[in-house]
Symmetry: C2
Subunit: 143 residues, 2 copies
Amino acid sequence: MSDPAADEEHAGDTADEAEVRQANRRFYDAFEARDLDAMSDVWAHGDRVSCTHPGWRTLHGWGAVSASWFALFGGPQPLQFILTNERVAVEGRAAWVTVDENLISAEGSGTVAAMNVFVRTGDGWRLVAHHGSAVAPQGQRDS
Amino acid sequence: MSDPAADEEHAGDTADEAEVRQANRRFYDAFEARDLDAMSDVWAHGDRVSCTHPGWRTLHGWGAVSASWFALFGGPQPLQFILTNERVAVEGRAAWVTVDENLISAEGSGTVAAMNVFVRTGDGWRLVAHHGSAVAPQGQRDS
């Protein structure tokens, strides 16, 4: 997913924004690689983390969230993403990213609208909330 | 939607958590009342706000977001919500809320999993991002 042209676009990022963008990429790298250890490193661990996979109820706490990644990575369907419309906002020790996950899989393609919330810890920015939802083919288009 | 028993549950809230919870309730009150002025007061206004309605692409910026509420409130379908599983997390001047919107309308019922991000401004906590997604009937259940 490395894209020098995309990196160039973000030359105006603050240091925090650049770090959050890197943390967000690490999340999708771990997702694509189906790498549980890398995914675990991306997230904060604790009761307040949450994860809403497309069509799922929200899962609360690192135990339930990590179990969902274990289940997803054990599934039959490797995913590739092309990320577009990635926007980063930082507010003190917290940040949120909106991004479109353009999925390519053996079963077809589709777009998931995602929001990821990060918190700055002693070990850098960690994911505390992920929410993804499928964009309906007839859904409202971003203008 | 006022529920004294639910308020009792949150007696352990910090002052910030209580304020965020109030801001979150104001969002749903404005949504139910189809009150554009109240909805406008709930949100921060600016380029970085975003809104992802169920099945929609993410809308960016207050112009696009406010237009979507104008369109939704002009629609034929009043909505009522019963909010459950509301969880508030505060990190400095930012906060996020996960909540299940249990919808009751003339066309039936359903659950939308939502995440709302708030930022503390000089005028109190303001909504900067809303993301809602329909929970599939066969969707994974929260444990």
